[in-house]
Every structure is written in structure tokens, then in C-alpha cells.
Chain length 335, copies 2
């Protein structure tokens, strides 16, 4: 996101983002000191608040006449908490040591604390969600609770499918896209649907905003996977090269294994399967000269364009422009 | 539970227990094959269905004129799923290899699969819970969802408090009781409250049933801790001696460290802190001759009596007798 676009977002939903931040902290207050210590640490992982921004901006974009409500703030806090829980458990799965330039919970306090803290965050997010007043905006009972739970189901399924395909060098592009649609894009899609539905959007608009979130989230994950391969850890602020270390095939590698000359493909296959201290660097050097990275970037770009096209029927407001800028930001970011 | 009492329970709530079993399986059906394999394996851990029994029997006991409803079955499935999720994550924390005479998920499929499967179970339980019709029985909106989420919060807090006290040889009895009230008894208490509330119980009866569940759950955990120390793994069907291996002080040990002769206490402290292949057996041989096990059994017995006293104002029905028998079963069981 350019500095200008970021400033526009802060102007548009600044008070609500501050309220999300306060609610996040307040909800996780515990009478137990040991819980407080862990929760404070996880607070440091919070960065762009992409998911709360998506939810709040969607609310404004579909209904420019009204400010986002207290339930929008509540649900924005819920999705941020769900996201934090998945980060904490992801770091356990990845044995990652670094997250947003700080030590991960598992690295600092052990896997046990990280497993439990993730559980604690997720159960708090459900508790907070179950306070939403669905009926007040004409939604069916427990609309938000059901949607959030269904979404976390999909996130878990995506993670399990990814785990099942570890070290599967024959992973194809449709399965890769299915994995990231579930594990990443399901949540951004839910953010946009919740923002729209709780702003009184009609069914068609809510569907289109969900589609925006799904395309944006998928592009986001492809970009994340590209950065894991090409990024500078000093910029990105987290352990890189994890995908290849963990036997996760991502889009550039899938493309390479499908299209590169036979001897290059054989080399990548042996690099991926054999233990090697410089595995990530060697793979990077093999991939960089070809067009597999460009292929992945093009796919992400096409998804960003699809996301942006979902906004065209919305009223021409600053909130819509901010959503447009967020879609661009997803592929422009270096971290 | 004696065979007679067990048969009585099956007669009383047999159809509902069968419905819980069917709903458990149906809810966890996934279009992903890899998810199905894991879910089928976790199905094998299911044993006594203590928590669904508590919920369904409470429903019958407080309102003998009506059968348990579809929402009772739904919520009984929810609590069983929550319980399964905690078992799966507990086995990760404990690095346990055996559960109900079968390999644990973490032992069989790795910690990653176990973390994700636990997440999958918990998110499914919330999804199922969010379908309960609270208004139909005059309860506030999302009564069940809030109660279940608040309960899982407490379970996580109990686990975190326990983790924070690993290898704390000065753990005192009140903190131990606080840990087990949260990590174990909060869920059995919630079962009884849900059973009562969804059967139309008044506030006072629901409170008393929650108290029954809390006392029963606390006694259950004390008995579990005693069995971890004294049980025969062939009977109990799970890895034993884990508590001392993992530096968890339980009631017999806490009592011993408070009351045994100074040289015995010093011996236990060194056994607990120093690496030793026969740690569990040596500790068992040190504890058995003293009165610390009896002290723990007496505490459990007093809690069972307190639980049973909560039933006295209920109508004299078979369901009440079954709840009475379940309280007895908690301390009588060898597995």
C-alpha cells in the first residue's frame, strides 16, 4: 500500500481500528499472570491488521451513509483473533523461529505454550463472536457465529490438505489453489461478507464482496509464497525458505516442475528431496532465471484484477478506492 | 460404574446417545480424504461418553416429563467434540504415545496433524453449537455458544496454568485445585448446566446442576491423577507416569511434599528433578506406603459426596439415580 493509500484508510476507519485494538487487548485480559505474559507477546505479531481493515472498509463501501457499527468492530476483532491463532499454530507446524522480527511463541516458550495460546485465542474469538446481534440487522440467528466457525473449519481443512501434500512433488496447480483458498482466502472472504452483511447489504452485494475477499486472499497467499522464495529476511521479518524446508510446493515450483527443461526439473526434484544446508538458496538460484516466478506473479495479478472488478458496482466512494488500493497492495508489498 | 448402573443409563438415554454418535460422525464428514482418515482414527478414542451422558441425564433428571430434545443431542455432541479436541492437543503436550489402547494421533501422524485435527474438532464443535435454538426454550440469544466458548476459555487457562507450574515443586493444593477446576471440571459443569437450561430448569436448579458437574469433574481429575501414579497401563490403556515425567505435581505428591518426613520429602524432590529412567516407578514405591494416596482419595470422595448432595432436591427418578451412580463411578473406576 502506498503511504497515501494507507493514510486514506486510517482516515476512513481510524477510530474503528483503534477500537479493534482496544477490544483485542481487553478481551484477552486474564486473572492469570502466565496468560497475560503470552498474550502480550502475541500482541507484537500484530501488524497491518489487513483482515479488520477489509471488514471495516467493506462495511463503509457498501453503505457509505453509515459509520461501521459496534458489531463491525466486534467482528473485526474476532477475525484478527482468529488470524493470530492460525499464526501461532502455523509457527508450531513450521518450527519457525521468527515472526514480524520477533521470536515466535514456540521458539520462545515451547510448542506446548504455542498450542495452548492458539487454542485460547480461538476460543476467545468464538466467545466474542457469540455476542453479535445478528437480528438487529435482519440477519438469521447466529449468522456471524456460523460463518466464523464454518470459515475456521475451512482454514483447518486447508492446513490438513497442505500437510497431506508435504513432500508431494507431483502436487498440481488446482490442488495448490484449493489449499490456499481454504487456508488463507476463506478468512479474507469471510471478512468481506461479514462487513457487507452487517452493513445491511443485499445478498448479491454480499456475495460479490465475498468474491472480492476470496480473490484478494488467494493473490495474497501466492505473493506470500513468492516472498518465501525470493524475499530478504531483513525486509520480511520472518524465517524464510520454510516452504521448501517443509516440503511445501508453491506455485513457482509447481510451474517449474511442469515446464522447465527435463534436466532442470530433475535437479529441482533432487534438491527438494535430499537434505542440503543451502537448499533454499540453491532452489532460488535455479528458479530465478526461468519464467516460473513471472508465471506466479501473473496469476496473482489476474486475481487482483478479478478482486478489483468485484468493486465496480459499488458507489464511487473513498472506501471503495481504499479496497481497490488494498487489492493492489497485496501484490506490491515486499513484506 | 457397575454393569447394572451402566445398563440403566443406556435404557434411559440410549436413543439419544446413539444419535450423538451418529451426529458426531456426520458432522465431521469432509470432502477431503486426508481429513476423513484422521477423524476416523480419533473416533476410536471415544469411550465412556461421560460428558454426553451427564448432559442428557441432567436434562431428564430436571424435567422427567420430557425426553431430551434435538438440541440436547446437538449440545451433547458439541461437548464430546470439545473433549476430543482437548484430548488430541493434550497428547501433543504430553508427548503421549498411547490413548485408549490405540496409538495417539501425534505418535502416529506427527504433532502437526494432531494440532490441526484438534483445531478442526474445536471449530466443528462451535459450528454445531451455533445451530442451537436458545430462544425456543426461553434462553437469551446464543446462550449455548457463549457458555461453550467461555468454558473452552477456562479449559485453556487451566492448561496454561498447569504448563506454567511444570517442575514447580512448591505447587500448593489451592493452585492445583484451581488448575483442575478449569482444565477438567469446567467442561463437566457446563454439560450439566446446558442439560438443565435446555430442559427448562429454573436458575437455581441450573446453578445446582452446574455445581454437581463441577464437583464431579474435580473428583474425576483427582482420580485420573491417582491412576496415572498407581494404575496398570494394561487396564488404563494409556501411557502412564506422564505427570511425573512432565513435571506435573498432582495431589498425592503435593500432600507428600507437605507432610512426609523431611528425608522422604528430599528424596521425592530429587527424584522429581533428576533424570531417571525408572522415575515413575521409584516415585510410586516412595509414595505408596504413606497416607498421601489415601488423602487424595478422601478428597475425591468428599467431592463425590458434595456432587451427590446437589441432586437431593430433584424428583426421585431413575435419571437422578443414574447421576448419583455416575458420581460414584468417578472414584470407583480403574480406568
Amino acid at each position: 500500500m502506498t503511504l497515501n493509500a494507507l493514510a486514506a484508510v486510517t482516515d476512513l476507519i481510524g477510530p474503528q481500528l483503534a477500537a479493534v485494538d482496544a477490544q483485542f487487548r481487553q478481551e484477552l485480559t486474564s486473572d492469570l499472570k502466565c496468560v497475560g505474559t503470552l498474550v502480550r507477546h502475541v500482541g507484537r505479531f500484530r501488524g497491518k491488521m489487513l483482515r479488520p481493515c477489509l471488514l471495516l472498509l467493506t462495511a463503509r463501501a457498501v453503505n457509505p451513509r453509515a459509520e461501521p457499527t459496534a458489531d463491525h468492530v466486534r467482528l473485526a476483532t474476532v477475525v484478527e483473533m482468529v488470524h493470530m491463532a492460525t499464526l501461532v499454530h502455523d509457527d508450531v507446524l513450521d518450527e519457525a523461529e521468527l515472526r514480524r522480527k520477533g521470536a515466535t511463541i514456540n521458539h520462545l516458550r515451547g510448542n506446548e505454550a504455542a498450542v495452548l495460546l492458539g487454542d485460547y485465542l480461538i476460543s476467545h474469538s468464538y466467545h466474542l463472536c457469540s455476542g453479535a446481534d445478528d437480528a438487529a440487522v435482519g440477519l438469521p440467528p447466529q449468522y456471524a457465529s456460523r460463518l466464523v466457525a464454518r470459515t475456521t473449519n475451512r482454514v483447518c481443512e486447508g492446513e490438513l490438505l497442505q500437510l497431506d501434500n508435504r513432500n508431494n512433488l507431483d502436487l498440481n496447480e488446482p490442488t495448490y489453489l484449493d489449499i490456499i483458498a481454504r487456508k488463507t482466502a476463506a478468512l479474507t472472504a469471510a471478512c468481506c461478507r461479514l462487513g457487507a452483511a452487517f452493513a445491511g447489504a443485499d445478498a448479491e452485494t454480499a456475495d460479490r464482496m465475498e468474491e472480492y475477499g476470496l480473490a484478494l486472499g488467494t493473490a495474497f497467499q501466492i505473493q506470500d509464497d513468492i516472498l518465501d522464495l525470493t524475499g530478504d529476511p531483513r525486509d520480511v521479518g520472518k524465517t524464510l525458505g520454510i516452504d521448501v524446508e517443509k516440503g511445501k510446493l508453491t506455485l513457482p515450483l509447481i510451474h517449474f516442475l511442469r515446464t522447465a527443461p527435463a534436466e532442470h526439473r530433475a535437479l529441482l526434484r533432487s534438491l527438494l528431496t535430499e537434505p542440503n544446508p543451502d537448499k533454499a538458496e540453491k532452489i532460488r538460484n535455479l528458479i530465478l532465471p526461468g519464467d516460473s516466478l513471472r508465471y506466479a506473479r501473473d496469476r496473482a495479478r489476474a486475481l487482483v484484477d478479478r478482486a478489483r472488478s468485484c468493486l465496480l458496482d459499488l458507489p464511487d466512494t473513498e472506501a471503495r478506492h481504499a479496497l481497490d488500493a488494498m487489492a493492489e497492495f497485496v501484490v506490491a508489498r515486499a513484506e
